[in-house]
């Protein structure tokens, strides 16, 4: 039963404006026509989760080398930052595609939010706990009754508590390292590719415990809304292909075009820092995973997605498991990756 138009539009528009700031959402791109040669480039606003950094490198590489343009895509890479809520922005129409983590999207999709994962750009999330070298805790099990600064509401905290039978205290994240530097017992959430660099540069001695090693192992994904995929499947497919190509080059070839853009857009980003991050991504097998267990860059498999659904269900984060087809599509991947998806 629908009420006449104005009321729901007013309410939704009002809430969308509130959620996404006061800028008008861009008019939706035209659906794809049947004659590619005459089609206008499809506009894609791609939202990242932080200021430009090496962890976004592949996308900037694709942009720098013109891979998006070659695919007839007009891509804007929009930077994120602290407090920027990517999913809300996507739902209110401020961006079309974004980067995220598979565990979040699984949970949101269980709440009937219309997100869809379309590709993987990092085999393992670089999330870890950062401690001081001299901290008495050596493994996750040693963290009982410790306080961790983290993004409150992350599921891996419950996961660690359940798995190791420990109790943890949380304090809200403030994205700085001042407290870490002044308190030798401080523990905070970090990216292995990021915060430790600052600590080292300030003379500290950090040590990291990767969450993936504890068995909490989400993908870093490219995702969008079901509506956008429905309207622009080819554009999404080409975006994925171009992005994965950019990443391949960024990690295995010459990343300087990407670095140039990043440095230009983020004045705090130094070449030294970017090299540190790239090195960490390689050493910790973040982007390409471990070949010895069958992982490779861009690989997205049903079993691994299902594993994450099961973990979240067991954590009682979701009352019931959500079917994979609700939140992930494998058919937009490049052909060689599709074959391995099963």
């Amino acid at each position: 039963m629908r009420l006449p138009g104005p009321v729901p539009l007013l309410v939704a528009g009002l809430l969308a404006a509130l959620a996404g700031g006061c800028s008008k959402p861009a008019p939706p791109s035209l659906p794809e026509t049947s004659t590619p040669a005459l089609a206008l480039p499809t506009k894609i606003r791609f939202k990242t989760d932080w200021y430009p950094q090496a962890e976004h490198g592949g996308f900037y590489q694709a942009m720098a080398k013109g891979y998006y343009k070659d695919a007839n895509l007009d891509v804007d890479i929009l930077q994120g930052g602290p407090g920027v809520t990517v999913p809300q922005l996507m739902l209110s129409g401020q961006c079309d595609v974004a980067m995220g983590r598979s565990d979040d999207i699984i949970v949101w999709s269980q709440q009937n939010l219309p997100f869809m994962i379309v590709a993987v750009y990092m085999e393992h999330d670089p999330q870890a706990l950062m401690l001081h070298e001299e901290d008495s805790a050596k493994t996750f099990a040693d963290l009982d009754h410790r306080t961790i600064m983290l993004n409150v509401g992350v599921h891996w905290m419950d996961y660690l508590e359940q798995k190791y039978h420990i109790t943890l205290q949380a304090i809200p994240m403030n994205y700085g390292i001042a407290q870490f530097l002044s308190d030798k017992t401080f523990i905070q959430q970090c990216f292995v590719t990021n915060e430790p660099y600052y600590v080292l540069k300030s003379g500290g001695h950090p040590r990291t415990l990767m969450l993936a090693e504890a068995g909490y192992n989400p993908y870093r994904v490219i995702f969008t809304t079901k509506g956008f995929v429905r309207d622009h499947p080819e554009a999404v497919r080409k975006f994925i292909a171009a992005s994965l190509k950019g990443w391949d080059e960024f990690m295995n070839g010459d990343p300087s075009p990407a670095k140039a853009i990043i440095a230009r857009r983020n004045e705090h980003m130094t070449d030294d820092f970017m090299n540190f991050s790239i090195k960490a991504m390689r050493e910790q097998h973040i982007t390409a995973g471990r070949p010895e267990i069958g992982e490779r860059f861009g690989l997205m498999t049903r079993p691994r997605m299902q594993e994450q659904v099961d973990i979240l269900t067991k954590l009682k984060v979701m009352p019931a498991p959500v079917p994979l087809d609700n939140f992930v599509r494998f058919d937009l991947l490049p052909p060689d990756l599709q074959a391995s998806a099963q």
Binding site: A12, T85, P87, Q111, L113, V152, G153, P172
Partner: protein, 271 residues
Amino acid sequence: MTLAKPRRRVPRLLVQLLPALTGVGMIIGWEAICLSLSADQRFLLPSPAEVGRAFVEKGPALWSAAMATGGGALIGFGLAVTLSFLIALFLSLSPLVRASFYPYLMILQMTPIIVIAPILILWVGPGLKSVVIITFLICFFPMVVNTTQGLISTDRNLVDFFRMCKASRWQEITLLRVPSALPYFFTGLRIGATLAPIGAIVGDYIAGNSAGGQGGLGFLTIIYSSQFQMGALFATAAVGCLLGFIFVAGVIALSWLALHKWHDSFSRSDA
């Protein structure tokens, strides 16, 4: 002799029920809006049923968060009341004192809490201490201003009378200025009471760990918003609102106790 017809008055009971009736009407309207949203838009506005369900499911979490935030707010508010009173007494001593210190109080008030908070956390550490200080900073200034105003606005004639009786400075303050300032004091308190729960929620949003145990309402806000649990978010807001009401009601009760016998603010129209 015929009696005049009594005027038709709206029955008392009906008048008291009016807000409840309006409330029911609003909930029905709300549900109607939700039903009119398409499946894609449904996430924007949780229905009354969803919010109700969230209250039930998250009841224990909401309760302990409310206790944590309420506790932090109470301590911060109590501190603010005590210190604001003492500082107001100090400021009321002379215009020179006021001229010397007022500007700095104003600077403290003007500095945005959002900027003070991270500095505070670095000095004091996250947790209850920071929450209490943030709450304190938010409600302190209006209380100082109002109480000081009350202490210096004492009726000139009464002051002369006390001087004529050769009352000591202490007697003048305790027997004249302070009681005379009570209405102003309670005005400041009422303003502070609306601010204190907000301060505590902002406090544990930023500094977390509200009472050393589970987080407070601000903490829950982060969790529910990051997890997109809209129903729970609305429920959290409602609890915060209720907390505000309780604080203000408490202050009104206190001010009734202190003032109802003698102050015009509590006079009945037919007294």
